[in-house]
């Protein structure tokens, strides 16, 4: 990857080379960069497509991802953008009647039809001779990989002129954290509680929507996380400027549903990538064209420990077997996508020095301590205790 985000690092003649860690998500404002290379969010004229005042939870990864993604799409489309939204958290927290956080034309129809509505919008705009107006469809993982999947696949197969963005928080959060087809193994949800011998969600199930999207050989597929927002922006901008069916799958932590501290949203998103559990890549016409490298693979434990949805793997009866199985998934991803950077590649990359150094390795269950517990989190905790 980094085609987009490598650009800022490429020194122009006579300029000092600016390293990624100086412009990455740790850096506010990108003041070291020339203005045209700064992030969309750093610009005064950003569209604030999802503007403030919405009712997302503190630390919501989806709100963050959607704001960056849609502002980037708005920039790439020159403000000429319309959106179709699936039912879900994003829809609910952004449009409590009579208020709306959306500063672009936006329609919510149903849970399972956002890709088809977006397809219809693109078709209508084409028939009206208004194809300069670009179309974004968006939804959570439930609306994308489960109930909306037939519509999504149809949209891909027809190569409809739609960019679909999935904000993946790995469960049905809007209905109270139930398992979806994107819920990872061992994760606790309201329907995959660690009861009896069951260690959370089952292994070997669930689907990999980006790979399935690639199998449709659509022009563009990418994954991203809210830890690397510049990367997300550049992918969205790139996708927006393309035509045909495009898909971006964004990893968005959910503090409420995952039992994580609100302040850890970015950290968790960074660790999921650095551990290899969530490969970040781009694919053009069905072929992987770039991968976001990892400087040094972080053990999955570091990722899991921050989330109470995995608490049953630790505690009094630790499930090392399960943790090993999760580690095996990460290792396989690292091999399969060739995620590890060579020494040379690694020099520029964020790694332990910048990302993992402040991880509270000796503090399991940190999430709940600093966070005011929500009802849901309490419920999760109580159920967990009850099972022991």
């Amino acid at each position: 990857m980094r085609e987009g985000s490598r650009d800022p690092e490429t020194p122009k003649s006579g300029e000092q080379r600016v390293k990624l860690y100086q412009t990455g998500t740790h850096v506010v404002g990108n003041r070291l960069l020339p203005p045209e290379q700064r992030t969309v969010q750093a610009r005064m004229d950003r569209s604030n497509t999802l503007t403030s005042g919405h009712r997302a939870c503190q630390g919501c990864g989806e709100a963050l991802g959607a704001r960056y993604a849609l502002d980037a799409a708005m920039r790439a489309a020159d403000g000429n953008l319309v959106a179709a939204n699936a039912t879900g958290c994003l829809e609910v927290f952004s449009t409590p009647f009579p208020e709306s956080s959306w500063q672009l034309p936006w329609i919510h129809s149903l849970f399972g039809n956002a890709p088809a509505v977006a397809s219809g919008m693109a078709a209508g705009l084409k028939a009206l001779g208004r194809s300069d107006t670009r179309v974004v469809g968006q939804g959570g993982d439930g609306g994308t990989v489960d109930i909306g999947f037939a519509c999504l696949s149809g949209m891909f197969e027809r190569n409809d002129d739609v960019l679909f963005i999935c904000y993946d928080n790995e469960a049905y959060m809007n209905t109270g954290v139930q398992r979806s087809g994107a819920t990872p193994p061992a994760a606790r949800t309201a329907t995959t509680k660690p009861l009896g011998e069951h260690a959370g969600n089952v292994f070997g199930k669930g689907k990999n929507a980006p790979l399935i999207a690639m199998a449709h050989e659509i022009p563009y597929v990418a994954t991203a996380t809210v830890a690397e927002l510049r990367d997300l922006e550049s992918k969205v901008e790139r996708a927006t400027r393309m035509r045909g069916a495009r898909y971006i799958h964004v990893f968005v932590p959910c503090p409420l549903g995952w039992g994580a501290a609100s302040r850890d949203t970015i950290r968790i998103a960074r660790l999921v990538k650095e551990s290899g559990l969530f490969p970040v890549f781009e694919a053009v016409d069905g072929e992987v064209t770039s991968v976001s490298k990892i400087r040094r693979a972080v053990p999955v434990v570091e990722y899991l420990k921050l989330q109470r949805r995995y608490a049953h793997l630790f505690g009094e009866n630790p499930r090392e077997d399960v943790i090993e199985a999760i580690q095996a998934i990460a290792d396989r991803n690292i091999r399969r996508f060739d995620l590890l950077a060579t020494a040379e590649e690694g020099a520029d990359l964020p790694g332990e020095a910048t990302d993992a150094a402040d991880l509270p390795k000796s503090q399991p269950g940190i999430a709940g301590r600093t966070e005011q517990e929500s009802n849901l989190m309490r419920l999760l905790a109580e159920t967990h205790r009850g099972s022991q």
């Binding site: 329609i107 088809a116 209508g124």
Partner: protein, 419 residues
């Protein structure tokens, strides 16, 4: 231009003259010939500036129409039976959002048991989905109703379902008068959306509405439907002025003014009923027919007025509410409050069983001779013996297995019947 063509082709030609900009197409019998012909017209560029979307399901077809309509495009789709049920969630969404989509329903039974033939159980199941429902008696009327439907839909910002009997109309070759494109253009103005997803003026469509306003939003839906009670007949009148023939409207009586017995029905069976009315009138029987052309909104006053003088009312319907009774019958009774007429609910033509002249004449003879009970549901041409045998099996405590198979076994013949 007078043409002898298939009903589906006639409808497709009429729809094309309405210049839809997006067509969501998904095959299901007996609607397929309509979308097939529209595909031809788009490929031949006889229908221009139209996106023909071959979607993956009826749910996607309706959803694509929702998206298209929301960006200001005139949207059309066609379906039947299971397909209509598969798009139900989107049907309610289209009406709730007030998007003027027009859809043909080629009426077909709903399974199980699976059955591809005609009845009204599909569209009747969606009578309360917030769509306007028009029922065609002939292919000419089906064609005409589509042209009217776009106008009604767009004027009220409500979706309209044009229901035509599957196979009986869709697959029948008969004479139709196809209007010229310029004639339709003069009648049907360009689509001016009442709400629009426009980057120049961003709006949010489909926001969540809580208890503080949901009732009011729903009330408005009802109020808009009630406005259609004026608009539907007005559109029919204007249509007649433009095209020189009467089609549509709310209800149509046939020799019903002074009739003691009135048969109420929807759709293509009205033709057979009218033939029988003529025969019986020739024999001196005081009988007439009432066709309900627009079932939603329900034209309560018009039905009441048309039935005011009747002593016996036979409601002949191709669907029923299982466990409750007639659907049209219940609606007709609503219009008769205080009137001392006998109402007979007769279910007929289920799953493609022909409604024959002989059976109808026998039914009406029974009605006139007071041999038919009111207050219970009658099934025309029901094979009582077969039903009784199956009921006896159940009473005997046998594990009966699949009823459908038993019924067909009892029948002895499966196929190869001439009619």
């Amino acid at each position: 231009m007078l043409s002898q063509i298939e009903g589906s082709k006639a409808v497709a030609e009429a729809v094309a003259r309405c210049r839809p900009q997006v067509i969501g197409a998904y095959p299901i019998s007996p609607q397929t010939h309509i979308v097939e012909h529209l595909s031809d017209l788009v490929r031949l560029e006889e229908l221009r500036d139209c996106e023909y979307m071959m979607v993956e399901s009826e749910f996607a077809a309706m959803s694509a129409c929702i998206g298209a309509s929301a960006v200001g495009a005139r949207a059309y789709t066609a379906t039947a039976s299971q397909g209509l049920l598969y798009m139900v969630e989107a049907l309610y969404n289209a009406s709730g959002l007030g998007l003027p989509i027009v859809m043909t329903v080629a009426n077909r039974a709903i399974g199980a048991p699976i059955n591809i033939w005609n009845d009204h159980s599909d569209s009747m199941s969606q009578r309360d989905s917030g769509w306007i429902q028009l029922y065609a008696e002939s292919n000419q009327e089906a064609l005409d109703l589509h042209i009217q439907a776009f106008r009604i839909a767009e004027e009220l910002a409500l979706p309209v379902m044009v229901c035509m009997d599957g196979f009986i109309l869709t697959h029948a070759f008969e004479e139709v008068d196809l209007p010229g494109a310029e004639q339709v253009d003069a009648f049907l103005p360009r689509y001016e959306p009442q709400q629009l997803l426009d980057p120049g003026d961003p709006v949010t469509i489909g926001a969540m509405v809580g208890p503080e306003a949901f009732t009011e939003v729903k009330y408005l839906m009802h109020a808009k439907q009630m406005l259609a009670l004026d608009l539907v007949p007005r559109t029919a009148t204007e249509f007649a002025e433009h095209f020189g023939r009467h089609s549509g409207g709310l209800v149509r009586g046939y020799r019903a003014e002074d009739a003691e017995t009135i048969v109420v029905a929807l759709g293509s069976v009205l033709g057979t009923v009218e033939d029988i009315v003529d025969e019986l009138r020739d024999e001196g029987v005081s009988i007439g027919a009432l066709g309900i052309k627009c079932f939603r909104p329900y034209p309560l006053d018009e039905v009441r007025e048309a039935l005011a003088g009747a002593k016996r009312i036979v409601v002949l319907e191709k669907a029923f509410a299982v466990g409750a009774g007639g659907i049209v019958g219940q609606n007709v009774r609503l219009a008769l409050s205080g009137q001392a007429a006998q109402v007979f609910d007769v279910v007929a033509g289920l799953g493609g069983r022909p409604i024959t002249r002989d059976s109808l004449r026998a039914l009406l003879a029974d009605v006139r001779a007071d041999r038919l009970e009111t207050g219970r549901l009658h099934f025309l041409d029901l094979d009582t013996d077969r039903v009784e045998r199956e009921l006896a099996r159940m009473r005997a405590g046998e594990r009966p297995g699949p009823h459908a198979e038993n019924m067909i076994r009892d029948l002895g013949i499966v196929a190869a019947r001439s009619h």
